[in-house]
Amino acid sequence: MSSEADQNNNRNNNCMIISNEFNKNTIDTATTFSPPNSRQHLAVVSNSSSSSRPPSPPPARTVGPPGSSTALRTKEPEPPVFEKGIAGEISANFGQMVQIIFIKPLRIKVAVEPSNIIKVATFLRDNLGFDHAESVAGTDYPKEDQIEVIYHLGSYSREDLAGQVLSIATRTNRDDARLPTLINIYKSVEYHERETFEMLGVYFEGHPRNERFLLPEDWADIPPLRKEFRIKGR
Amino acid sequence: MATVPEEFRFGNFLASIIWIILIVIVVLTLVILPLTFVILFYVPLPPVNGEVLTPYLFLTSVVDPTRTLPIVKYLIHQTPFKVVVFPGFVFAAIIAAATIFVERKFLAKMQLRVGPLYAGVWGVSEGILQLAADGLKVISKEILIPSGADKPIFWAAPIAFVATAAAVVALIPVAPGWVVSNTNVGLIAVFAILGFFPLIALLFSWASNSKYPFIGGLRALHQMIAFEIPFILSALSVVILAGSLNLTQIATSQHPFWFILFLPISAFVFFISSLAELERVPFDLPEAESEIVAGWLTETSGMIYGLIQLGSYLKVYALSALFVILFLGGWSGPLIFPPQLGPADAIPLEKVLTLQGLYNPVTVNAIFWFLVKTIGIIMLMLLPRGISPRIRIDILLHTGWYKLIVLAFVNMFVALALIYAGVLGPGGSLSLH
């Protein structure tokens, strides 16, 4: 049964995320590589019919009888081709700097070192067409003494990337949480990064306003989304 | 259990009513009756029906109904009555109150809701007492004065607002001879008094010591000045045709043909300008609540707000009455009232009931037609509130300075051409006098 295999696959991937360590390539991403030319060729072929008319629906991604399950749940045992192509292009450009964490239909997650994130993000914007950030989420991992900040990038300008969300994750130390800001590459992260600063205490170097945003003006406690902050009475 | 009210007891209720009656009787016997006698003895009473009105006659008139009517007739032709009651303040205030009620119901109907509902008779006239309830509420509310406000101006401005509105009302004739102040420069006087309103708005907004009222006051000033000129120009063409500034003469001079037939553009400009003058939708910029909270009324509270509302609805009446006088022939209309309400040889009581001697069919007819036209214009002024949004300040100024002034001039030239062609004016072919 395919879904069971999925689960296993999924679990393997996800376990990897939680116990993720940089610089250690635990997943064999080499199988997902493919030459950039062939990927683009694929993309053009699959979307050439729809690219001329803006309001037309993007190509159907569902496999199998319609409605039998959600679009995302009908997964092939191996990662889908289009997403594999994008991931392959990233890997081909950056090699060991970028670590592909998972490739699912419409979702790719890559992890990079903080020092490389600006380079990678610029490449994603300029060469791959991911032109805006949907959200910036910070997660606290006290056991590993790290904070992960993940940018969900999407694309409005490229038709074939409309449903794709590329997550680019980076980690920083918990005690002195500092990350370079992406505001010069993605203007849309401005408020999200500001929120991450006040919720998790991650200082974004280069961000013009690392200051209070949503919390009360007289907030005098640790950043509330850190795990050691407890809601009273719970 | 402080929230649970004290138990109601019918005995206490009865006792309180009896106490009130007792107090009223005591006050009546100890204060009011002596005071009446003193006044009747020491104030010289005027002659009525050829004989000098003595306190004795005055008191017997209460018993003899035939003597009541002459006294009433005498009283209602006196200036104080005119100022206070009939063409003056109370009459206008009643129309203003009715306007508020009609506006709420009318808008509610247009917006598919019911409007004021509970104060009134269920099923018959829902919400007719809503205004009284609102008035009571407004009177009983505390008046808050912002810190740092200029107190004398803050207090004086709402009173000046109502007084100015009442002064406009005083110049409006409602029937031949029924006007508080029949001046020869009536129209100019109206515009002169209307010119006070932006000043009051600005003073009040300054005195409030707050930002939103200040912006609102400035907007009111801009708006009223921008619309003052087309306002006056559109009325000027009426003056050209009528050859007079006296409002009564303007009304009577359009006897066969109303001026709106010759001056439709002027009438349109006058109507739009008066909407702007009244700060009504779509020109309610000084009170635009989504932009500047409530404009120059932001800091008003309690009866200050009530007075300003009263004044602005008095203005609604005054300006629609002015429109009727200038363009719709004033009180002219077919005579539909009978010459007498009852037979001439009736018994005294019936004479009183049919108001013989007091009833004048011409005047009643004039008042009737005047009211009909005025109410029609008021309804027309209420209509935009249901269908149009507020316009922006620059569009408003552009409309006032560029479009309306030009339009007013256009019709003025038409009026002049008509006069020089000998069609209208004194001795014109279409004038009967």
Binding site: I18, P55, T62, E134 | Q111, P389
Partner: protein, 386 residues
Amino acid sequence: MEDLEDRINESQKMGMQIIKESDDDRLMTLSVGPQHPGSGHFRFVVKLDGDYIVHCDPDPGYVHRGEEKMTEYRNFIQNIPHLERPVIHDSTNITYSYSLAVEELTGIEVPRRGQFIRAIASELNRQVYTLYWLAIYGIFLGHSTMFMWPTGDRELFIDLLEALTGARVTHAFNIPGGVRNDVPNGFKDRCLRQISYYEKRLKEYEDIFYNNPLVRQRTEGVGILTKEDAIRLGVTGSVLRASGVPYDIRKAEPYDVYNEIDFKVQYMKTADSFARAYVPFLDMRESCHILRQLLDKMPEAGEVRAKLQANPRGPPGEAYRRVESGRGSLGYYIISDGTPKPYRVKISVGSFRNMLALPHLLVGAKMGDMPVIYWALNYWPVEADR
């Protein structure tokens, strides 16, 4: 389009010039909100030079409730009632993507009829939200009739949702694994009757509001957000579509049954406030179209809800799922560590993303245009604060 660019350049030039020339004494600082009738639970400080806004600083957070922290203390089912609080007028949509994400994490399959009922509730709720938004847009323009009519018509949709879900506003209807209950008897007929009535009403809205010359005068050419800026700022929903980007999550990433539905993404190219006000209206009309199809294609009988264990849990992992809500893309990023409670939930809401366009559009605009621009951004303060 040249005309459009000229206008932008003009307005931006004007804004820049004013900033340069003005010294601080000339500027008046106005605090729009939180007690201002035109702001909601939100404040933005504007600086005025005469009637022009030269500076704008949004200050949200007045209704921040820490929803993301609260989720870490509750299991996946218990999170539903409080997660819909940020935007109770669109409460089906805000729990929709949450349910999708939890289903992806826990591996629950939704029955086909359940998917249809979900989509129907979602479309009905989109109408409810957009009508409410339109009502407020009407009163922001001083158009009191446009406040009352949508509010009244919204009531009819609320009645429909009440019959379907049992609550008027906070439905708590979507649940991981499907929906809480099946549709009541006669729901389809009632729904269809109401849609045809409602389409007549939409025509009236157009007559009195959208085609009203004064409304046009106030909204057209005001607050132009070019396509490039819209993409750069990452705005979403109707704001994005009004700028000429035909992007709709229902098309881009069809969830549940939306890939079987035939509909057009409504978008406009004028990129002004009028377009931003008109695109939701077109969406409502298209939503009627979608509702008809959904009601038509819905299976007659079947399960509506997968059987759940008491505390659904999945393997450790993460999921990011989005739906198209009334305010645009609404995404949930959920990390699960294998326990019944989520490890981290991030809600990516349209309002928060559209807020970035507010200072961008307000600087250089007139104070009188402030409500027109502000509310056309489809900004819901409570949702942005979460």
